[in-house]
């Protein structure tokens, strides 16, 4: 166990992901995460010095679009999804730095 997952780490990561984790869930999450980290430790034991790095997992590349405007004004449709809106804009809790 190179990486020990503690309750503090679960709280920290949960906070970053904005997740509310109950005490029961916390223990399960901690175990799951520990399993993942342990598996990574196993992978780290492999000598991969002669293996070409895989930088992308899907055998697809270069899917592009041309630089053309294809969308018009769909404001009404888009704003219909907003929990709150005002003056054609999305209304959110105040966020001032």
């Amino acid at each position: 166990m190179v990486n020990k997952i503690t309750d503090e780490i679960i709280d920290y990561v949960g906070n970053l992901a904005k997740l509310k984790i109950s005490d029961d869930e916390k223990e399960q999450t901690r175990k799951d995460m520990q399993t993942i980290m342990d598996y990574i430790d196993i992978l780290n034991e492999l000598d991969t010095r002669k293996v070409e790095p895989m930088f992308y997992i899907f055998p697809v590349h270069n899917v592009f679009r041309e630089d053309v405007i294809t969308n018009g004004d769909d404001k009404a449709h888009m704003l219909a999804n907003a929990p709150k809106q005002k003056d054609g804009q999305y209304q959110v809790p105040k966020t001032v730095e």
Partner: protein, 477 residues
């Protein structure tokens, strides 16, 4: 009193908005200033199930910037998700490049007092812009406009190679000039199409290790950048002198108060939990693709300057000033193409235009007059129908309102009087009124001649050709 001498160490993160017509991952317009949320779709508002597709032009612009800053190109590159929660970012992650940025290890050369200096570029990567938050002091909510969300950005990260605000401004000038020449971005600081974050630390002179740095945001002009650098340098030295420590943090510069404040929103790189974006297939850049971009690079400033010196016979000084701005250079060439004498066109641009730009605090991109009107003004002045002083007056009008100089001169009756009989009458009058001065002149006091010319010009309300007036005076005294 400051016993110790400090050195300022500066690195920059510059965001440049790329001049594509559509956004980086969807077909929405990137036009600036549209009514809020009129350029949005499910992709750029982060709707579940929407699929981003990369705009090919963004990759080509990035490559062009990379080539012209001597960067290496990652021929296998990809996009990663930078995770954070903030309402300007509707997906809760920004699509950026972290592990394999498109360009790396480049440099830009700047001029300093000590000679030329290379500022190294650590990397350049492609990413999407965020939406824009609007706050009202008296309301308890914020409003979001996602028109800017998904506009393509290029982030250019330098090494900490700069040592003064002069070097920083110089570097930014070069970068802006490059982007404008390549047509990759218009780089307007005020409109936010170029944004600069300053990473700054101080250390005692001759020490090898860097001090702790802070990052400063919200710098909206070159002047603000220079003030922020001076302010932050002072703040850090003051802390060290009082035996305290600089805290690594992000600070927001308030240009009105000339002070920076620590921002509450703090996250470490690892807190962003970057991971490859599975929605976007990787980008493989073939040698052929690179070569085609390299071959299509436009003429850049050094070549343009050389061409101006060679083909238009401009002095080096003129050519350097005109080509420092792509916009000014375009205006120059268009006016010359309309028949303007190159040296005269260059003079109007270098002297009067730059003077007025400085006076109004404007950039060459904001010039309103057309090359047609400048060419006309030069013709009007060359033919001698208006004298120099009046030509300058007309030019100011042209600068402000793009008036047609021919029409303006006619409407305001500014044409110089060439009718010798009219002039003769005035000269005669002036000589009579100033008989004492005329006596002095006859007695060898040559200086007073100018006074007499001035008197005639005054009588003519400036609408006379001074050379012609001089000739007449000499004849008639």
């Amino acid at each position: 009193m400051m016993a110790r001498e400090y050195e300022t160490v500066i690195g920059l993160e510059v965001h440049v908005e790329l001049a594509t017509k559509s956004k980086i991952f969807c077909g929405c317009s990137t036009e600036f200033g549209g009514a809020p949320n009129t350029h949005t779709c499910p992709v750029c508002t982060g709707m579940p199930g929407s699929l981003p597709v990369l705009n090919k032009q963004v990759v080509e612009y990035a490559m062009a910037m990379g080539f012209s800053t001597h960067c290496q190109i990652n021929q296998n590159c990809k996009f990663d998700r930078k995770n954070y929660f903030y309402p300007d970012n509707p997906q809760n992650y920004q699509i950026s490049q972290f592990y394999l940025p498109i360009c790396y290890d480049g440099w830009i050369e700047i001029e300093t007092k000590e000679g030329r200096k290379k500022i190294r570029i650590h990397e350049m990567h492609m990413e999407e812009d965020s939406g824009k938050l609007l706050h009202n002091e008296w309301e308890d909510f914020s409003l979001v406009d996602y028109n800017r969300s998904g506009v393509p950005l290029m982030e250019i990260v330098s090494e900490p190679d700069m040592r003064s605000s002069e070097e920083v401004i110089n570097y930014l000038d070069r970068l802006r000039m490059l982007a404008q020449y390549l047509g990759v971005s218009d780089c307007k600081l005020q409109e936010g199409s170029m944004r600069v974050d300053v990473n700054l630390s101080v250390r005692e002179k001759k020490r090898k290790i860097f001090g702790t740095r802070t990052e400063m945001k919200n710098l909206n002009s070159f002047k603000a950048i220079a003030r922020a650098i001076a302010g932050e340098r002072e703040r850090q030295i003051d802390l060290l002198e009082r035996g305290r420590q600089v805290v690594q943090e992000t600070r927001r510069w308030d240009d009105m108060k000339e002070y920076s404040y620590a921002m509450r929103f703090k996250e470490d790189t690892k807190d962003y939990r970057y991971f490859p974006d599975p929605d976007l297939p990787s980008v493989m850049i073939s040698d052929e693709w690179m070569e085609s971009i390299r071959a299509s690079l436009p003429e850049l400033q050094p070549e343009k300057q050389a061409r101006y010196e060679r083909d238009f016979r401009l002095p080096t000084y003129d050519a350097a000033i005109i080509t420092a701005s792509k916009h000014l250079a375009d205006l120059f060439e268009q006016t010359v193409a309309l028949g303007g004498n190159p040296k005269k066109v260059s003079n109007w641009l270098m002297v009067e235009t730059l003077r007025l730009l400085k006076k109004h605090g404007e950039e060459p991109e904001q010039i309103r007059f057309s090359p047609e009107h400048l060419a006309k003004l030069i013709t009007v002045a060359e033919q001698g129908s208006v004298n120099n002083r009046i030509a300058k007056e007309v030019f100011e009008k042209m600068y402000e309102e793009d008036v047609d100089p021919e029409v303006y001169v006619k409407e305001h009756e500014l044409t110089s009087v060439h009718d010798a009989s009219v002039l003769k009458e005035v000269v005669k009058q002036v000589l009579e009124n100033n008989f004492k001065v005329v006596e002095e002149y006859r007695n060898g006091k040559a200086k007073v001649f100018c006074f007499l010319v001035g008197q005639v010009m005054k009588e003519m309300q400036g609408k006379a050709n001074p050379t012609m007036v001089g000739e007449l005076l000499r004849k008639m005294i």
